[in-house]
């Protein structure tokens, strides 16, 4: 174990990653002790293989899919990266949205020099991607629609059924990045006419570094990682057995407790916003029709990053836009696409709750927000007045 114990914090950043569920840790611990390679002939291999295929069944069940349509990957990013390159070629057109995750936007950009054209459709001011707007962007050479199910920054929920209907009426393929959706909203690949769906384990209390790509049988599939014939020859490399077993365990629990957790999160959202209202703070919620667990809040006149740091100092972990690794503070492309100004977008933070969040924690973060924002807003008002006097 590292010599740096985890800080004693109230964790309100489930959209970045959820804490590993204890049951998942136990499953992974057991699976990690299995010596076998699932591809081996011997019994050690057989046990590992059975574990792997049971996990595949669990994942398939959660999506209304068949086990052979599930390809386990290293995460949502790999799943998204796998979808496009083999599918799209010179002359093909893709309709996607301006609010996609970088793991959809960047792989599509890479195909543009090869003759693939990409249209990014703007969201409504509330963050939603309208099926009608997607349909209006179609061209005769459109081959694929790729729209995320739940936005990672605002929680905005797309109408997958309507999008799938557009795809089906025009004979197009439909991909959805469901990394933030799995376990948070019901998913059914057949009802929604989905051809490809990406998901990740760690957003629902599974391990980091494990994900899946659903690929409808009969649709063209391109191997991103060439190698052995693992994953039905769809992804080379010895399978991450413990991670995949943990992923399946997390899916089981998330499925079982979905209804109850969903109502609990609706309640938490009300408490948070109610407390902010009571505190007479000036704020906006970015996005409507969102999943309850993600709350994107904008506080006029407040530097969002400084607010996150202040909350951290008070023991609350929240995030500024999506998690950013490089230390840059660029404004969120999602919020800008929704029509926020640069100043508005940099004054927003994301609070996200999940399976282990308690009412006390929500009350705590609401109180801390009230305190800090109140102070920062009065400082900035003060600074503004001084500037006017000069």
């Amino acid at each position: 174990m590292p010599d740096t114990p985890p800080p004693d914090q109230i964790y309100c950043d489930y959209a970045a990653t959820a804490p590993l569920r204890p049951e998942v840790r136990e499953t992974m611990h057991q699976a990690g002790q299995l010596p076998g390679n699932p591809s081996s002939i011997h019994q050690s291999g057989q046990v590992a293989k059975v574990l792997l295929e049971r996990a595949r069944q669990t994942a398939a069940d959660a999506l209304g899919a068949e086990p052979r349509e599930i390809v386990f990957t290293s995460g949502g990013t790999e799943a998204n990266n796998t979808v496009f390159p083999g599918l799209l070629g010179s002359g093909d057109h893709v309709v996607t949205s301006m609010t996609e995750h970088p793991s959809v936007q960047r792989p599509l950009e890479r195909l543009e020099p090869l003759g693939v054209t990409v249209t990014q459709v703007a969201p409504q001011a509330n963050g939603m991607i309208q099926a009608g707007d997607i349909e209006a962007a179609l061209r005769p050479n459109t081959r694929l629609i790729s729209v995320m199910c739940v936005n990672n920054e605002t929680g905005a929920l797309a109408d997958l059924d309507a999008l799938g209907d557009v795809a089906s009426r025009h004979g197009l393929l439909f991909h959805t990045d469901a990394v933030q959706a799995l376990g948070k909203t019901p998913l059914d690949v057949n009802r929604s006419g989905i051809h490809f769906l990406s998901a990740s384990a760690h957003k629902i209390g599974g391990p980091k570094g494990t994900g899946l790509l659903y690929a409808r049988k009969g649709t063209p599939f391109h191997n991103l990682i060439a190698g052995g014939s693992q994953e039905n020859s769809h992804r080379g490399g010895t399978e991450n057995v413990a991670g995949i077993a943990g992923f399946a365990r997390a899916i089981e629990i998330a499925t079982a407790e979905y209804g109850e957790l969903h109502s609990r999160l609706i309640g938490f959202r009300k408490i948070l916003l109610g407390d902010l209202d009571d505190g007479n703070l000036s704020y906006n919620v970015n996005g409507t029709g969102t999943i309850p667990g993600i709350v994107n809040l904008q506080f006029p006149g407040v530097n969002g990053q400084a607010l996150v740091m202040n909350l951290d100092g008070r023991g609350y972990a929240v995030s500024y836009g999506s998690s950013c690794a490089s230390g840059s503070s660029e404004a969120s492309h999602v919020l800008l696409a929704m029509g926020l100004t640069q100043a508005e977008a940099t004054s927003a933070i994301r609070v996200s709750f999940g399976y282990a969040t308690t009412r006390e924690e929500v009350l705590g973060v609401a109180a801390a927000l009230g305190d800090i924002v109140g102070k920062l807003q009065s400082d900035s008002l003060h600074a503004g007045k001084e500037a006017t006097v000069e």
């Binding site: 990053q305 400084a306 740091m309 230390g327 920062l376």
Partner: protein, 363 residues
């Protein structure tokens, strides 16, 4: 409740030990690393000893903070750094002067933008790993003093910080030697204990400012072409590919055959000439200093101080005469290669009185 201190962490050993000392003193501390530039924006191959700003440096700073149990944040100051430091660096070279970007970074980024951020984080003070001291003077006001380690003293690059920030600044290394700092870092097992010293200008990663200018300011550099190298009498004795390639006092790279060594004495942007001379001719006693900043009550009558006109000089006695908002600096003994664009700092004993930028060399 103890005071909150923001410690500016570069990812090097000095600022790491500054954090250690701040914690020892009983403050509630947290570390910040200012992201000043992106490697892809400044170009060049990173030198091993260039330890500011790249991801590795941020990682080192975070490692030290986490192992000492304090938060660490990366602050994106790229815009303010470009506007106040990099753009000026380019302008100064194009004007035929030799800029001192570290001075401007301290004045406009660390002791301005960082203070602004410190306020938003509810911090009472900031601390850095500079080798200089802040001590309460006889009038009860804080004064900035040289660092005790004479070889490491960094007061020269701090003359431009706003005076009112002294009371909110901690410089915990001012009383220590570099050897003591390393020893303390090793004793504490800090990840940065053996990070090599950084000497270069942080954003000129390969220490090649000519490469930086040609890549970063290619438009302006397009107007800089070949010209004449003149002797002191104004006779052409060679040619140069562009005056920005030279700094006053430079000897190497002139490509001149001469019985005695020749040094760059003067750069003339208008005439596009570089004037060279024997070393004896580079000694001068006088210069004009502008953009003054005082860390004590500003003097107005002529005063004798100890003045430094470059980072690596111990300085010498000089007389300051005031004219409007500029100062005429008269050294008692001639100094070698006083260079426009460099900083002049004024001391009384160990106390840094203030400083400015050398705007004109000679009388």
């Amino acid at each position: 409740m103890s005071e909150r201190v923001v410690v500016a962490m570069s990812g090097g050993v000095d600022s790491s030990v500054a954090l250690l000392k701040v914690l020892e003193a009983g403050y509630e501390a947290f570390g910040v690393t200012m992201k000043l530039w992106e490697s892809r924006d400044v170009g060049g191959q990173l030198l091993e000893e260039s330890n500011c700003c790249p991801v590795e440096a941020i990682n080192m700073a975070r490692d030290v903070c986490v192992s000492l149990g304090v938060p660490h944040y990366t602050l994106d100051f790229q815009d303010v750094f470009k506007a106040t430091v990099i753009d000026n660096f380019v302008e100064e070279y194009l004007a035929g002067r030799t800029p001192n970007p570290c001075v401007r970074c301290n004045s406009y980024v660390k002791w301005d933008a960082l203070f602004d951020y410190a306020d938003q984080l509810g911090a009472d003070k900031i601390a850095t790993g500079h080798f200089a001291r802040i001590v309460t003077g006889p009038n009860g006001q804080p004064q900035l003093l040289r660092g005790v380690d004479q070889h490491k003293d960094q007061s020269y690059v701090l003359w431009g910080i706003p005076r009112h920030t002294l009371q909110r600044t901690l410089l915990p290394l001012g009383g220590m030697t570099k050897t003591q700092v390393r020893a303390l870092a090793n004793e504490a097992g800090l990840a940065t204990a053996n990070v090599p010293e950084s000497q270069a200008i942080c954003f000129v990663t390969d220490n090649n400012y000519r490469r930086f200018l040609s890549e970063h300011a290619s438009e302006q550099m397009a107007g800089v072409g070949p010209g004449s190298i003149l002797d002191e009498a104004g006779t052409e004795i060679g040619t140069h590919p562009g005056y920005v390639n030279y700094t006053v006092g430079q000897r190497r790279g002139l490509g001149l055959a001469s019985p005695e060594p020749l040094y760059v004495k003067k750069l003339d942007r208008e005439q596009n000439t570089v004037t060279v001379a024997p070393q004896a001719s580079l000694w001068g006693s006088q210069c004009q200093v502008q953009e003054l900043n005082w860390l004590v009550d500003p003097p107005s009558d002529p005063v004798t101080v100890h003045a430094r006109v470059r980072y690596n000089s111990t300085g010498a006695a000089a007389r300051l005469n005031f004219e409007d908002d500029t100062v005429e600096l008269h050294f008692e003994e001639p100094q070698l290669a006083i260079t426009a664009g460099q900083s002049a700092t004024f001391y009384e004993g160990d106390v840094l009185l203030g400083g400015g930028v050398i705007s004109r060399v000679g009388g």
